[in-house]
Every structure is written in structure tokens, then in C-alpha cells.
């Protein structure tokens, strides 16, 4: 599975990383090298093996449906790039 420049463009878009045209060939080369490294996986037969997501097979804990968080929005919003009246500001998305 080798990559081409169109793939790199698509990946950059999915990752929401603005990549300049002149950076594309560099990324193509580096990402291809990493894919070559991981290609070794394909030679192993894994039929019938359960995928392992976590080291310990634990089940997710449940808790009672009650509010446990205290309101600290002022502290959390103090580190935001742009805030007004308790709201995060972003560029207009609806014309």
C-alpha cells in the first residue's frame, strides 16, 4: 500500500493540519518510510486472534447518574484564546 501526493493531501485534511504544497513531497517520503516499517505486520497470519485494546481486560466502571463536577468554567475559560460572556469565540460558521 504505497501513498501518493493525493493521499497526503487527503490525510492532512482529515487531520486538520494545513500543509503547504511545497511540504507535500517531504511528508510523502516520511509517511511512506513509516508505512514501510510497519509493513512487516502483514506477513503474520492473525486469523482467529482476538484484537487486544488494553493490557488488562477490565470492564468500564459505571457510576450513579448524579452531577459530581463543580462549576469551574471561569478557571477553565481563563486559558482559552478568545472568550466572551462565558462563551468560546470562533469564526462565524453560519452565514
Amino acid at each position: 500500500m504505497s501513498l501518493n501526493l493525493a493521499d497526503v493531501k487527503r490525510i492532512a485534511h482529515l487531520a486538520r493540519i494545513a500543509v503547504e504544497e511545497d511540504e507535500m513531497p517531504g511528508y510523502l517520503q516520511q509517511l511512506s518510510n513509516i508505512l514501510n516499517l510497519v509493513e512487516e505486520m502483514q506477513a503474520v497470519d492473525t486469523a482467529g486472534i482476538e484484537p487486544m485494546a488494553h493490557a488488562q481486560d477490565v470492564v468500564l466502571r459505571l457510576r450513579n447518574d448524579v452531577a459530581t463536577e463543580i462549576d469551574r468554567h471561569a478557571a477553565y475559560q481563563a486559558v482559552a484564546p478568545q472568550v466572551e460572556a462565558g462563551l468560546y469565540l470562533v469564526p462565524k460558521v453560519i452565514e
Binding site: L3, D7, A15, I17, I49, A55, R72, A78, V79, V90
Partner: protein, 484 residues
């Protein structure tokens, strides 16, 4: 004072021979003098540290001190600490003063320990040389031309240069053990789930685990006693009885079966490292242990599997950095999509962007089964290798890293060659096992060699015992870099 063990420092604090303020000031002065050379710290805040030291002295005076009360501990900058700049080595978080404490920080605060400052690291813990930090490279105190390893390179260099009595690290693919090895210090990555990941900025959540980095196994046991513990805010934190990790330190090693995986002593291991590890094993035999040849047949798959799973999890975790709620936002943009793209392009460094993009690709439609699911299946085979091996031995030993510290710049242009420096450490994270690195001599170039000890699940106390007995018989862990 700078070479004194935590146990002895604690005794001196308790007997009022020294105060925490004096101790903290001593290390702050050392940092001021030596950090310009080493760049091991990103943030120092004398006032905050000294205020904690004063409070610790009051606690000691009132007779309510614990083993770490008044001890200054340097914190890897991956741990969020309230009121402290917490950058994770990235421009993305260059202005992030954390509004909350990580569980690990809370635990240290509760114990009365002093936060001595935030240590440098590879950006978002992605790297093995500390060269990807936005805040500049860290230098290895044993040789200023050498890398300190990574990603916890700042913590390792700080402990080695005695800029702090102890530090914290995190280990996703070797980030505690490899820098510990390259700096001649002791570090342990516990079993996955023992130390809470709450407030530890996420890289690859199914692999990330915090742990201590210090001058000896005995010190690591004291630190792990504070760091470990159940925390409901981390969904993978394990509910287990609190244990004393130092309880077995003095046990003799007679009859210990040490497994030597043939894959860890094969081509690629440099001769000087092999020689130092061989000498360490001879020491263990003198202590009454026996060695057993074992095999971890799927070892060669660990690096490929890791470079699918870790980037995949990273691409998901790092999606939160969008320039909206915290961190860096690009100064100019046209619309929301442009703001996301530019903030992330400008806020992340090259290695982080590469890994996000690889992770995005392996999770994308049409490739998920071939890469991500395939890697998860192989992960089980890798974990199974260890289960099989522990039927034949009590501990597994080998080199932590195939070479001693390499030169700054030597591998920074070739990511894939950098990835291979973690060839012996990555499988441990994939299996979720505890692993540690212990100083075991020096290579041909005078740079430290680390012996890796891998234990079965939840065998940290035994591993620390195995390391401590070696440290009673040898003095590698007491060596300090000269001429810095």
C-alpha cells in the same frame, strides 16, 4: 546533600538537621547554575516551590510528616499542575497555565512533597532523544554532545546531574527506561493501570503510564508508593489494595530465575552494551540467581505494531488541540476550518504532525482493518510471548537500549532509525507489563548503560527488590557525571 538518598533526606528533615526550605533552595541554586548548560527544565518557579517547602517544614514541625514530606521532586511537563505552565514540550501549550492538578501531582501534594519545577521533554512525549521539544534540546550531563534520550529526557538529565533528588516520567514506548539508561539513573514504568493518567497529557492512552525516575531502586519504591493508587477519573485505573513497594527490598535473590530473551541479545546490540549487561548478569549469578534462555518470538513485530497503535491513539487524543478552548491559536485565518488547520500546523512540531498523519491514515476508511485491527491482533501475540516466558522465569533481563546515548543530531533527520532505539522497551508497553532500567556500567565512549528488568504484572515490589540487591552489590548507580 545532593547525592543523599530520599530515605536519608527524609530522616534529616524529620530530625530537623535540615529544613525543606534549605533543601529546596540548594536544588534551585543548582538548577540556576547548571540548567543553562543542560536545558533540563522548562519552568522554574522559586516562590511556588519555596512556599511548598515552608508548608512542608510546618507539617514536619507538627509531627505529621510522611516519607516524602519536604522532598523536592521535579515533575515532567506532561503532568498538569495547577497554576504552573504545563506545556508538554509543545508550542501548542506555550501559554497553558493549568487550572487543575493531575492525580500524580495531587498525590505528591498530599504527601507534602515540593514541586521543584517542570522538566523538558520531547513534544507530547513523541521522541527518543529530547530533540523534538519546542523549548530546545536537553543535553546529556555525561557528555554534552550526547542526547539524554526521551521522552522523559529532562527528568533523567536532572536526576543524573543532581539538579533534583528525584523526578517523574511517563513511558509509552520506553520514555522512562531509555532516558534512565542513557543518563545512568534508575526508573520504573509500573504495570499499566497502577498510576492514574488523569491530568497526564495523553499521547497513546492504552500504553501511557507514569512512573518515578531517581538515583536508586530504594528511592523509586518511596516515590511509587505516593504515585500509585486508584483514581476513578481514569477509566483504566485499576482498583487494587494500596501496597508498599519497598516491602521486599531486603529479600535475598537466591533461587531467582532470570530469563534472557535471545531476541534481546541478537544482531543490532552494540558490543560494549552487551559486555556491560553480561557483567551485570554475572553479578546476579553471584547473588544466587540463575539464568534461563527464553524466547520472545514476536519481538520483531513490536516496533511495527507500536508505530500503528501509538500514532492512531495520538491522532485521536490530539484532536482536542483545535485553538478553541486552550492553547495556541494562529494569529490569522479566514474561517473555522482555516483556523483549525493553521493553529495545528503552527502549534505542532514536525514529529507530532507526522504521527498524527500516520495515525489518521491507519484509522481512515478502507485501511482500518489492514493496519489498526491487524496491529491489535499482533499486540495479543506479543503479550502472549511474555505470559509464556514467565512460566519459565521470575524476571526477564536484557539491555534497555541497543546502544549508549547517541550524538545530538545523529538521528534527528531519520525518524525510522530513531524509532529503532526503543526496540527492547516497546513490547513491554504493548503487553502492559512493568519494566525498569538500572545503571549497569559504561560503554566504550564513557556513556552509561542501562540493564532492563521486566517483571510479570503487578510484580513491582519484587522488581525493586531485584534492582536494590544489585545496587547493594555494585556502585554504578552512585556514579555522577563529572565536569559539568
Amino acid at each position: 546533600m545532593i547525592n543523599t538518598s530520599l530515605k536519608e533526606l527524609s530522616a534529616q528533615l524529620a530530625s530537623k538537621k535540615i529544613s525543606s526550605v534549605e533543601l529546596t533552595q540548594t536544588f534551585l541554586d543548582r538548577i540556576k547554575g547548571l540548567n543553562p548548560k543542560l536545558n533540563a527544565f522548562i519552568t522554574i518557579d522559586e516562590n511556588k516551590s519555596l512556599a511548598q517547602a515552608k508548608a512542608a517544614d510546618a507539617l514536619i514541625a507538627s509531627g505529621e510528616a510522611g516519607p516524602l514530606t519536604g522532598i523536592p521532586v521535579a515533575q515532567k511537563d506532561i503532568f498538569c499542575a495547577e497554576g504552573w505552565l504545563s506545556t508538554c514540550g509543545s508550542k501548542m501549550l506555550h501559554n497553558f497555565v493549568s487550572p487543575y492538578d493531575a492525580h500524580v501531582i495531587e498525590q505528591f501534594n498530599r504527601s507534602g512533597a515540593v514541586n521543584l519545577g517542570k522538566t523538558n521533554m520531547d513534544e507530547f512525549a513523541m521522541g527518543s532523544s529530547n530533540e523534538t521539544s519546542y523549548y530546545g534540546k536537553v543535553k546529556n550531563p555525561w557528555d554534552l554532545d550526547a542526547v539524554p534520550g526521551g521522552s522523559s529526557g529532562g527528568s533523567a538529565a536532572a536526576v543524573a546531574a543532581r539538579l533534583c533528588p528525584a523526578a517523574t516520567g511517563t513511558d509509552t514506548g520506553g520514555s522512562i527506561r531509555q532516558p534512565a539508561a542513557l543518563n545512568g539513573i534508575t526508573g520504573i514504568k509500573p504495570t499499566y493501570g497502577v498510576v492514574s493518567r488523569y491530568g497526564m497529557i495523553a499521547f497513546a492512552s492504552s500504553l501511557d503510564q507514569g512512573g518515578p525516575m531517581a538515583k536508586s531502586a530504594e528511592d523509586c519504591a518511596l516515590l511509587l508508593n505516593v504515585m500509585a493508587g486508584f483514581d476513578a477519573r481514569d477509566s483504566t485505573s485499576l482498583e487494587r489494595e494500596k501496597e508498599d513497594y519497598g516491602r521486599d527490598l531486603e529479600q535475598p535473590l537466591k533461587g531467582l530465575r532470570i530469563g534472557l530473551p535471545k531476541e534481546y541479545f541478537a544482531a543490532g546490540l552494540s558490543a560494549d552494551v552487551a559486555q556491560a549487561i553480561e557483567a551485570a548478569l554475572t553479578e546476579y549469578r553471584k547473588l544466587g540467581a540463575q539464568t534461563v534462555d527464553i524466547s520472545l518470538p514476536n519481538s520483531k513485530l513490536a516496533v511495527p505494531v507500536y508505530y500503528v497503535l501509538a500514532p492512531a491513539e495520538a491522532s485521536s487524543n490530539l484532536a482536542r488541540f483545535d485553538g478553541v478552548r486552550y492553547g495556541y491559536r494562529a494569529p490569522e485565518y479566514t474561517d473555522l476550518a482555516d483556523m483549525y488547520g493553521k493553529s495545528r500546523a503552527q502549534g505542532f512540531g514536525a514529529e507530532v504532525k507526522r504521527r498524527i498523519m500516520i495515525g489518521t491514515y491507519v484509522l481512515s476508511a478502507g485501511y482500518y482493518d489492514a493496519y489498526y485491527l491487524k496491529a491489535q491482533k499482533l499486540r495479543r501475540l506479543i503479550a502472549q510471548d511474555f505470559t509464556n516466558a514467565f512460566a519459565q522465569c521470575d524476571m526477564i533481563m536484557g539491555p534497555t537500549s541497543p546502544t549508549t546515548a547517541f550524538n545530538l543530531g545523529e538521528k534527528s533527520d531519520d525518524p525510522v532509525s530513531m524509532y529503532l532505539s526503543d526496540i527492547y522497551t516497546i513490547a513491554v508497553n504493548l503487553a502492559g507489563l512493568p519494566g525498569m532500567s538500572v545503571p549497569a556500567g559504561f560503554g566504550a565512549n564513557g556513556r552509561p548503560v542501562g540493564l532492563q528488568i521486566i517483571g510479570n504484572y503487578f510484580s513491582e515490589a519484587k522488581m525493586l527488590n531485584v534492582a536494590h540487591q544489585y545496587q547493594l552489590a555494585t556502585d554504578w548507580h552512585t556514579r555522577v557525571p563529572q565536569g559539568i
